[in-house]
């Protein structure tokens, strides 16, 4: 079982704030019988309000499973997981869906922008789901797109944009309804170094402005410097939580080397 974040590795400002995510002894298995895969083996993890936490580790270590449980899109088998004090296990499916729509913003590895909608329409989706009328939702979506530097492209469809621009649209969609927690799955994996760097910079500057919490799953050690804390996972467990990449990999770590 992994342990909760040691005090020395917490961002002092963050630790003074409340908890955004609290996971205790979270277990998740896939399959049954002899073919069971133990994806999470008793995870303890806290994410604080206003904190950017990166989840890192080798492929298959359980990062994506953990972020899915935190985001409420996957049921855990054992343990507790609450987000802003609300435990998914205590919610009905409809309540959980509503909670996700109001509280959590998503940035996906493959963007998942609907290709037949304009980018403004894509960004307006979370607002519509939260009950705004279309006109107001589009107005706010346009404002958000302007913040991520795509104010001139609001009527374009996603396929007319580059990968970096599409990821900026995805970030705008994740932020437009002002969620308190944003979960990002490999947001830079499909981008070159410079673009990836700019995307995370943007994510941090825009997303963190409202005391939001960010959990980013990544392999990309070139963006580790943006993290307040880095949780390293291996074999379904959080084995280390540190304040910087250098603490994790030592002073000789080079950007671009495997994380």
């Amino acid at each position: 079982m992994s342990t909760a974040a040691p005090a020395h590795s917490m961002n002092p400002a963050a630790s003074a704030r409340g908890l955004a995510v609290r996971c205790r002894n979270v277990v998740k298995n896939y399959g049954t019988g002899q073919s069971v895969v133990r994806a999470l083996r008793g995870i303890d993890l806290d994410v604080y309000e206003g904190e950017l936490l990166m989840l890192v580790g080798p492929s298959g270590c359980g990062k994506t499973t953990l972020i899915s449980v935190i985001a409420g899109v996957l049921d855990r088998d054992e343990g507790e997981c609450s987000v802003f004090g609300r435990d998914y296990a205590q919610m009905t499916s409809a309540q959980r869906t509503r909670f996700r729509g109001e509280t959590i913003g998503f940035v996906f590895q493959s963007y998942n922008l609907i290709p037949t909608l304009t980018i403004a329409e894509n960004v307006s989706v979370p607002l519509l789901l939260n009950g705004l009328n279309r006109h107001e939702a589009l107005r706010r979506a346009n404002d958000m797109l302007a913040k991520v530097g795509l104010g001139e492209r609001v009527k374009d469809t996603p396929l007319r944009l580059s990968g970096g621009q599409q990821q900026r649209v995805a970030i705008a969609r994740a932020l437009v309804h002002e969620p308190r927690l944003i979960v990002c799955d490999e947001p830079t994996s499909a981008l070159d170094h410079e673009t990836g760097h700019r995307v995370v910079e943007l994510l941090k500057s825009v997303a963190m402005s409202g005391n939001r919490s960010l959990v980013i799953v990544t392999h990309d050690n070139r963006i580790f410097d943006f993290a307040d804390r880095i949780a390293h996972m291996d074999d379904g467990q959080v084995d280390k939580i540190v304040g910087s990449a250098k603490e994790l990999y030592g002073p000789n770590m080079q950007p671009g080397s495997p994380a």
Binding site: T97, R98, R100, F108, N112, V125, L128, R134
Partner: protein, 388 residues
């Protein structure tokens, strides 16, 4: 979200058109084949439709359809006239007989005799001459559609008549060896039955036919104002032992007989069922493929907080819009088909009931297509969005 759901669908042009074509083709096939079927069925009772005025048709109780020959004694007419609620009752004769044309050719025909005094029962639309011309000696009326066809003249006679190939007013026919003179023509609806129809007076029609003891085919009855036709029909049955049908009832009797005895229903039913199956398979499969292609976006929408109810509404809206458009296109094409071939022998009728039935079938097709897709969307785990 409904608008976005429709944009999702319509933005995928190939699949959108595929679904639309599937639904439209089903709608076309169901409507077109249905309209031909209804048109043919209407022709089975066109004789009843073309006979104006009566509220009730009184017939022998064993009569199976209007072309059936089960004549009644003439005294029955007087008994019917004596029933309370009958304003008037007139006789009608209908029989198959032999016809000889001016060129000497022979063929069979249906001779219909209407009341000598009132001429009630004569066709409403008389194009050459008038119903009153039936009072002329040996006068008969012939169907305008037959004068150049079934009753048309052969080439050598036409040449002798100065190139006239059509039967005309004044031409002399022989009906069962009795002289008959064409006094005019009438227009009636095309009939399911093939023999030409000739109208004359009741007495003359009886004389044109082989002698029989019973010579009353139908009694046409008008009810007194305010009389309930159902009650009057029952009263006639009680008083005379005969059966009385309203116009609709008599049409239904004939149509049901044809349906049961000819197999027409199963033949057209197969074509209509084929249209339905094509619709389900093409629209269902294409719609399902569309959903599968978009599964990751539905997953993303679920993760973002779209409820199952909203997703169901989105899928239903997508299916509903293609259903509505496909229905309109199919019905429009079927109506165009009917309009373009309106002047031909095509039997085509598009009553609102058929449109409603086709609409119902399209709704079922769309619901099946939507249900296949919805099942996938509803069981979809939003976690799919994190799996690359």
């Amino acid at each position: 979200m409904i608008r976005y759901a429709l944009k999702m669908l319509m933005g995928d042009r190939a699949r959108y058109l595929g679904i639309l074509v599937g639904v439209a083709f089903a709608s076309l096939l169901i409507t077109q084949q249905g309209a031909v079927f209804v048109g043919l069925m209407e022709r089975t009772y066109s004789f009843v439709s073309d006979t104006p005025a009566p509220d009730l048709w009184v017939v022998d109780p064993d009569l199976e359809h209007h072309a059936d020959s089960k004549p009644m004694l003439k005294q029955e007419l007087y008994r019917v006239r004596g029933v309370e609620g009958v304003a008037w009752a007139v006789p009608m004769f209908k029989s198959f007989t032999k016809l000889r044309l001016p060129d000497g050719r022979r063929r069979g025909c249906i001779v219909v005799g209407v009341d000598d005094e009132t001429l009630i029962g004569a066709p409403a639309s008389i194009s050459g001459g008038s119903a009153a011309d039936l009072r002329l000696a040996d006068a008969v009326l012939v169907d305008e559609a037959d004068v150049g066809g079934k009753l048309g003249l052969t080439a050598h006679v036409a040449e002798a008549l100065g190139g006239r190939a059509k039967l005309a007013v004044g031409d002399v026919l022989e009906l069962n060896d009795h002289r008959a003179v064409v006094a005019g023509t009438f227009k009636i609806q095309p009939s399911f039955f093939w023999d030409p129809v000739i109208y004359t007076t009741f007495t003359r029609a009886v004389s044109y036919s082989p002698s029989e003891r019973k010579e009353l085919s139908f009694i046409l009855v008008k009810a007194t104002p305010g009389t309930d036709l159902g009650v009057l029909a029952e009263r006639i049955r009680g008083a005379t032992g005969l059966k009385a049908y309203t116009e609709q009832g008599f049409k239904r009797l004939t149509a049901m007989y044809i349906l049961e005895k000819t197999g027409i229903l199963i033949n057209f039913g197969i074509a209509v069922a084929l249209g339905f199956i094509v619709g389900v398979v093409v629209a269902g499969q294409t719609f399902y493929n569309f959903t599968m292609e978009n599964l990751r976006y539905f997953g993303a929408l679920k993760a973002l907080g779209t409820s199952n109810r909203q997703l169901v509404r989105m899928v239903l809206a997508q299916a509903g819009v293609v259903g509505l458009l496909g229905y309109g296109l199919g019905v429009g094409a079927a109506a165009l088909f009917g309009a373009l071939l309106g002047g031909t022998a095509l039997a085509f009728s598009l009553p609102w009931q058929l449109l409603a039935i086709c609409g119902g079938a399209i709704i079922v097709i769309c619901l099946i297509a939507a249900a296949l897709s919805m099942r996938r969307v509803l069981v979809l785990e939003p976690g799919i969005v994190f799996r690359g």
